[in-house]
């Protein structure tokens, strides 16, 4: 088992508890021993980076410092936005000794352990798309998705900027497709799978955001997808919860079920409803479960 610090972030702690419960249940099946961090805070979601950038850097350094203090050299994330925010701060701190010294001193002054720059931030997607995680995934996904047509939706901040993320080609990603196939599903291809869901501006600029949101849902529907899967709870929230607003704005009822990555793999690995918590979705997942005879 690989021991990793687990950073669940705001959404999996509150409105997307199904992401947390399915991740926790799935982790041992894919070789991950999750060490939950008790003292950490929000990563700032890009918003603190834009409002108070120096504070953003310190908050993320504090998260990294507690992961390091827990004896972990890896911090596992389950959210695109957390992944980019933490990796960006980590890149800044690792590559600038002077900056790291200033931030570390500040951390110590308020009672946080210093950060020496030895933690890697990795998303669950990357853990199970290759290496040992992928081998274990193939073994545990024995219940299979029975050829279900799944549209992978990557979202932005797990692909771009690739300088900070860099796991795969941001224009031709393959990880979600590989996982879908390993679980016995059929991956659907469509252009908007690497585009934005609109979530960061869904409250401040709803119309602009909905113009983005409709693209993946409409294209996945046209390509015959039974469901969309995403590695990001923010994408999940906009794709799932805001579908009703798309319906109000366009008159189109897509009724497209949206799955978290951990739920998709979890279904194939035979997790229970108490762990998958599909009842917490706004768009019913029932048609998918019926096809799978779960």
């Amino acid at each position: 088992m690989k021991r990793v610090a687990y950073y669940k972030g705001c959404l999996a702690s509150l409105s997307a508890k199904e992401l947390d419960s399915s991740t926790q249940a799935l982790a041992p099946k894919v070789g991950l021993d999750l060490v939950e961090l008790e003292t950490v805070t929000c990563c700032g979601a890009g918003d603190i980076h834009e409002a108070e950038p120096d504070y953003y850097l310190h908050l993320n350094a504090r998260i990294l410092a507690y992961a390091e203090a827990a004896g972990c050299d890896e911090l596992l994330t389950v959210c695109n936005v957390c992944t980019l925010n933490l990796r960006q701060a980590n890149w800044q701190l690792k590559n600038d000794d002077g900056l790291r010294e200033r931030v570390s001193n500040n951390l110590e002054r308020v009672g946080v352990p210093p950060y020496s720059g030895n933690v890697e931030v990795r998303h669950l997607l990357w853990e199970i798309a290759e290496g040992e995680g992928y081998e274990l995934l193939k073994q545990s996904a024995h219940k299979g998705l029975k050829g279900l047509k799944i549209a992978p939706f990557y979202g932005c901040q797990i692909l771009r900027p690739s300088k900070l993320l860099g796991f795969e080609d941001p224009d031709r990603p393959w990880s979600l497709e590989r996982i879908i196939e390993a679980c016995g599903g059929t991956a659907i291809d469509y252009p908007a799978k690497v585009k934005c869901c609109g979530f960061p501006i869904i409250q401040a600029r709803e119309e602009t955001a909905l113009g983005e949101l409709i693209q993946p849902i409409e294209q996945a529907k046209e390509a015959g997808a039974d469901a969309i899967v995403t590695p990001c709870p923010l994408c999940h929230l906009s794709l799932d919860a805001w579908q009703s607003k798309l319906k109000a704005a366009t008159g189109k009822d897509f009724a497209m079920p949206i799955l978290h990555l951990s739920q998709l793999v979890g279904v194939a690995a035979g997790l229970e409803e108490s762990e998958l918590k599909f009842k917490r979705h706004v768009v019913p997942v029932t048609p998918v479960l019926e096809k799978l005879e779960v």
Binding site: C42, P53, R62, G111, I201
Partner: protein, 370 residues
């Protein structure tokens, strides 16, 4: 002018195939045409287009000028991704057997083949008032000196060659064509962050337009596409940070961002349920009641009481105070590897006088000596 791309003695040639979306805005004719050329193995996409135009099809339209990544004329899409044709080497692509599809940039009207109408792009650049406003009328006798440290803040923004690659795939602009976009906003930051400019507050108020700073959806396509490393999304974040520093926070985007700060220093975690009224105001939030009830039924609206409080959240509060004391507010707090620029810091040893007075925006420099 004839372009002679005959291989130099001793060099080798390769077979290159590509498909080009041909288009004529006058007739509306559109066709994906395949071309195959023999070319020296060092050619760029632009060289291949030159060969096609010279030897195969003189009707092909595209823009070019410098051929060396500085004029910004030859932005176009290869397999849907905006590139500078002159920066894109063809060897690996041709050797892999892949036949790339070349098309005009996105988010701009196509006139012919690979030529887009740049006028909407220039309109947005002009909208930024892209010239220095030093705050005095007459050109001074003597210049103010600006330290390297002060210029580091806008080092990246100053690299922009206005090719339009960042705009091509901007997801916000696809949805809101009036969005100022990454190129214009990066240009705006280039002036807001310039120590010699004193119009930063007026500029920020203007850039806080409905289609300005807070209309960016953070898709990061601009950072990914920029061939010069400008990182326009980071420039937009700098404008957001500068706006909030100057108290220009009336936009819902700014209020949204500020609520994350409040959350982090009070409970540590995002106070999700309060985010909507804090962003949109109570009246708008009440209009969302029906939508919110739908979410509430599914547990998507966590009750604000009792709040979800991080352990040792006092550390997060104290960090905030400490950071504010250190005063790296606004764009200064956005780190982009500026320490690497330290090596080009001017020094006495390099023969540059450092005793000259430093720039003070809005204040005329002293008269020239002698």
């Amino acid at each position: 002018m004839h372009t002679d791309l005959a291989p130099a003695p001793g060099s080798t040639t390769i077979e290159i195939a590509l498909k080009i979306w041909r288009y004529d805005a006058v007739t509306g004719d559109k066709e994906l045409k395949r071309y195959e050329v023999e070319a020296p193995d060092w050619v760029t996409l632009l060289d291949v287009l030159d060969i096609i135009k010279d030897k195969h099809d003189g009707t092909l339209a595209y823009r070019k000028s410098c051929r060396m990544m500085i004029c910004g004329s030859c932005g176009m899409r290869m397999d849907g991704a905006a590139v500078l044709a002159c920066k894109t080497r063809m060897y690996d692509i041709a050797k892999s057997g892949h036949v790339p599809v070349i098309s005009a940039m996105g988010n701009l009207p196509v006139r012919k083949d690979l030529v887009v109408d740049m006028e909407p792009f220039w309109d947005k650049i002009r909208r930024m008032k892209p010239w220095l406003d030093p705050g005095y009328e007459e050109p001074p006798e003597k210049e103010w000196r600006v330290s390297q440290e002060k210029m580091n803040v806008i080092h990246k923004e100053a690299l922009c060659i206005m090719c339009g690659c960042c705009v091509s795939e901007c997801n916000s602009m696809e949805s809101d064509p009036e969005f100022f976009g990454p190129a214009a906003l990066a240009k705006g930051m280039r002036f807001v962050g310039d120590a010699r400019d004193q119009a930063n507050v007026t500029r920020l108020e203007d850039y806080n337009d409905e289609h300005g700073i807070w209309d960016c959806t953070r898709c990061y396509f601009c950072n990914e596409r920029c061939p010069k490393g400008v990182d326009p999304r980071d420039a937009i974040a700098k404008l957001g940070a500068e706006s909030i520093k100057e108290g220009i926070d009336h936009d819902m985007g700014a209020k949204h961002a500020k609520w994350f700060v409040t959350s982090a220093k009070t409970t540590g975690w995002l106070r999700e349920t309060e985010l909507v009224p804090k962003t949109q105001g109570i009246v708008e939030a009440i209009k969302q009641t029906k939508f919110a009830i739908g979410l509430l039924k599914r547990g998507k609206v966590p009750p604000p009481i009792p709040p979800h409080v991080a352990e040792r959240v006092n550390e997060s509060r104290r960090l905030y105070s400490l950071v504010k004391e250190q005063g790296r507010d606004g764009a200064l707090g956005i780190v982009q590897g500026e320490h690497a620029l330290g090596r080009i810091e001017f020094t006495e040893q390099a023969g540059v006088k450092t005793s000259d007075p430093e720039v003070q925006p809005g204040v005329e420099p002293p008269p020239a000596e002698g």
